[in-house]
């Protein structure tokens, strides 16, 4: 193997991966633990001809990346929980205008300013329902520094392909930790490039909000403003982008928002399973908690418990289909997360009491210890605790 073996901070990997994915505009406002992303971006973006702006606040940052993206540049912002709350309005606007953007949220303890230097996974539901109104959303959550580097590229690709804001979740430990990994070769990645206006023929009429593209056989891709003139509005709009408030059009547009994600679940749902061949129990964990869970699974295996692990990378849309399949052939699940039960709430929704379920929850800003998960497993298996 001749891949370079490197050590990188999670935030740094996020920034470097984004630049690899073609991000050329970053607007942000410093906040622990996402400051390092802005710091690396401010240093590295000018080198590749990109633009870095430190905005006056998070509201401005989120609005700036939407503008930049409409102008034809792949753009992203990075923040933490408090800033992510402020960005919700713009997130809705990006949803409505179908603008490809990437919002990185390095989660810290909340609510409000909470625990700035401690990890949490408390923004899971905010990533889904933070902004008002029905909308579809894609949220990715890696669990190692290498995965950050890989999946930030995926996040940009999803944003372009499905014309939607993509939320890239991380947490304080992932963001601040420096970890060694084999640096993936840039040629390993398929990068979805933005279609430029010069690619359109002069006689082509481009309608940015067509439901199905006849030009591209799928979701109408966004081309940069320039040769094609179009209007953008947060109001319900027709194909050309001008506001029309009729009920049938509103219904059609809303269904389009939902369906463009729903009909591509096959591509969007990314998850990993470990040791599932003969598993009787399964541990479900994501993000930094997946690291605790993986150790717990290995420890439980050495003690004879046949346990496997399911690690979703795509948190939203919820990986209901693969989880349903797993639920049908096992006899118990453990869900571990650093909040008071957000993902496990969704889990119990699809489980419907089908199999016994234990949760390992923690909210004090420390990581879940592997032994806590082993403990929950033994409880599930029905052994006594001694």
């Amino acid at each position: 193997m001749d891949k370079k073996f490197v050590i990188m901070q999670g935030d740094q990997a996020c920034a470097m991966g984004a630049i690899l994915a073609g991000c050329r505009f970053f607007a942000g406002y410093p906040i622990t633990p996402a400051t390092d992303i802005a710091e690396v971006m401010s240093r590295e973006l000018p080198k590749v001809g990109g633009t870095f702006i430190q905005m006056e606040d998070e509201l401005g940052s989120a609005a700036a990346i939407i503008g930049a993206s409409l102008a034809g540049v792949k753009s992203m912002t990075a923040t933490s929980g408090p800033g992510f709350s402020l960005m919700q309005e713009a997130l809705g606007y990006a949803s409505m205008t179908e603008t490809p953007t990437v919002f990185v949220d390095v989660q810290r303890g909340g609510p409000s300013t909470g625990l700035p230097t401690r990890p949490s996974q408390g923004d899971i539901m905010q990533a889904r329902w933070g902004t008002h109104g029905d909308h579809a959303v894609i949220a990715l959550y890696p669990s190692t520094v290498e995965e950050i580097y890989r999946y930030i590229v995926t996040a940009f690709n999803f944003a372009e392909l499905y014309r939607t804001p993509v939320i890239f979740l991380m947490d304080e430990v992932l963001g601040h930790m420096r970890e060694s990994f084999h640096l993936p070769d840039p040629e390993e990645f398929n990068i979805v490039e933005r279609i430029q206006t010069k690619d359109l023929k002069r006689e082509t009429v481009y309608q940015p909000f067509l439901e199905n593209s006849e030009l591209y056989d799928d979701i109408q891709p966004l081309v940069s403003m320039g040769r094609s003139r179009f209007h953008v509005s947060g109001l319900f709009h027709d194909e050309s982008g001008f506001p029309v408030g009729t009920p049938d059009l509103a219904s059609r547009l809303m269904k389009h928002f939902i369906n463009k994600i729903k009909l591509h679940l096959d591509n969007i749902l990314i998850y990993d399973t470990y040791m599932m061949e003969d598993a009787e129990y399964v541990v479900i964990a994501y993000g930094i908690t997946a690291r605790s869970a993986y150790r717990a699974v290995k420890l439980a295996r050495t003690n004879g418990i046949k346990v496997g692990m399911f690690k979703p990378i795509t948190i939203w849309p919820f990986p209901a289909i693969p989880l349903k399949k797993i639920l049908s052939r096992i006899s118990g699940i453990v869900v571990a997360e650093l909040n008071m039960g957000q993902f496990s709430h969704e889990m119990s929704r699809i489980n419907k009491g089908l199999v016994p379920m234990e949760t390992v929850l923690r909210e004090d800003g420390a990581l879940i210890q592997p032994f806590d998960i082993v403990d929950a497993l033994t409880k599930l298996v029905g052994e006594s605790e001694d």
Partner: protein, 213 residues
């Protein structure tokens, strides 16, 4: 060949190092350089540090975990090696030293070594490092690079060549010579050599204590 965290099935506990001192002493830089050098040696490394409001003068720490296997859980509770660069760090963190772990103490910055250490370990390296840095360079900021030299010569966990390379990557060009001199000074300062971890072979035991950590 392990390719990532989830390709390893081993439950070996990674080696753990904690470097503690006051903000401004350079303990986080020391951990960063050590981590980089270990990566150059081909080890899997996770380095974390305390993030707080403190910049200078407050207690800070830097943890380095390394292993031949990919490291799954990124935190350690107890440490194979603790480097105390200041009295406050020594008093606060000495209790996290593993049985038979190695304790490094910069005696010019630390007061009395806590008595309970005697019953935890005999592997103790106590040297007046900051004082040595002042004598040599008239500047105490070189103490952390001297520390790196001592760690390399005492524990042999990291190759001296790679440590040199890592130091040069992190220090400004015009101070390169003096830093290399400090590293060399540290490397020669102590003749003691200790193993970071000693396995006592117990019959019938599979030898994994990992469940208890």
């Amino acid at each position: 060949m392990q390719t990532d965290v989830y390709s390893s099935l081993s439950t070996v506990t990674p080696f753990s190092i904690r470097i503690t001192g006051l903000g401004g002493q350079g303990n986080i830089l020391m951990g960063t350089i050590l981590a980089d050098a270990l990566v150059k040696d081909g080890k899997w490394v996770i380095q974390t540090q305390s993030y707080g409001a403190q910049v200078r003068g407050g207690l800070t720490l830097c943890d380095v975990l390394f292993s031949d296997e990919p490291i799954d859980f990124p935190k350690a509770k107890v440490f194979d090696m603790i480097f105390a660069m200041h009295d406050l760090g020594l008093k606060t963190h000495a209790k996290y030293l593993k049985n038979n772990g190695i304790l490094f103490v910069d005696t010019s910055m630390c007061g009395q070594i806590p008595r309970f250490i005697q019953s935890v370990t005999k592997k103790l390296i106590a040297l007046p490092i900051t004082q040595r840095a002042e004598e040599l360079f008239n500047n105490r900021v070189f103490a952390n690079v001297i520390n790196l030299g001592i760690v390399a010569s005492t524990t042999k966990i990291v190759s001296y060549d790679n440590l040199k390379k890592a130091v040069l990557e992190h220090v400004p060009q015009k101070y390169a010579d003096r830093n290399l001199k400090a590293l060399e000074e540290g490397y020669q300062l102590s003749q003691k050599v200790y193993n970071l971890r000693e396995k006592l072979k117990i019959p019938y035991s599979k030898g994994t204590s990992s469940a208890f950590e």
